[in-house]
Symmetry: C2
Subunit: 154 residues, 2 copies
């Protein structure tokens, strides 16, 4: 089976998209992250949901989670207000921290898709037809197909 047969429609945001809208897309579509494209529509990176939280939650709380106990509803609202002022570009790690993108061509085999996900520790692989995004393959969908003929009892 080819990669484009496994690919599903997948939400895409632009670097200048509203950060709150991006976060709400993760929430409503129940997905672990989003595909980010540059101004020309070419794939730029994947924005994992945890990266949104890394922006919202101050570093000193990430370092010592027990400090989160002091945050009441009002200070939580203040943290979230920050998100309303920024775009997807501001949520991304510094450029040197951005890893290569997990992408495959549309005629890639399942093993190629598996190799890309394994290499990037990614639950998602973007499928390209030249530079156009055909969709994305979730790891659960790949495994379903890959293991279809493998019996569960060894």
């Amino acid at each position: 089976m080819r990669a484009d047969e496994l690919a599903e429609d997948y939400p895409v945001v632009r670097l200048d998209s509203d950060a709150v809208r991006a976060a709400k897309t993760i929430a409503t579509k129940k997905i672990p992250g989003l595909i980010v494209v540059d101004d020309g529509g070419a794939p730029y990176t994947v924005l994992p949901g945890s990266q949104v939280l890394r922006f919202v939650i101050p570093q000193y709380i990430q370092d010592d989670v027990a400090l989160a106990r002091v945050f009441d509803e009002k200070s939580t609202d203040e943290l979230l207000r920050e998100l309303r002022r920024v775009s997807v570009r501001d949520l991304l790690p510094r450029r040197q921290d951005v890893e290569d993108l997990p992408v495959v061509d549309c005629d890639a085999s399942m093993i190629e898709v598996a190799a890309v996900m394994a290499r990037f520790h990614s639950p998602l692989c973007v499928v390209l037809d030249d530079d156009r995004i055909v969709g994305a393959i979730r790891i659960s969908r790949l495994m379903e197909q890959l293991l279809a003929d493998v019996p569960a009892d060894s």
Copy 2:
């Protein structure tokens, strides 16, 4: 809202569970990974789907994905056959590579849950009542709740 109100039932596997059955659970439940418990039922680690693929796909193919093109159906079957001989324990990275587990107590606040996911780059947080696993919170569920009162238009 408390962590245990956000927690959903989530599949749990044991260290000695069948690896194929674990992989099939990821596929059928459409989840990015599994909670792994030790022989006493205490949380041990999270097994991301990509870690299963890292076991199946030889390192030299992860290093040079183009080599995956030479794998035909027969050699793909051989890779998968390996999975039938092992347990979940064998899929995990070496012990020193296993990170702390993203867990919170059942009375944790949303900010605590967010801080733990941010710290561990995790799309999932396990909720504990003492040592008993109440369930897990997916990042999409947390964001839905966290952003409920934040308007999308800034």
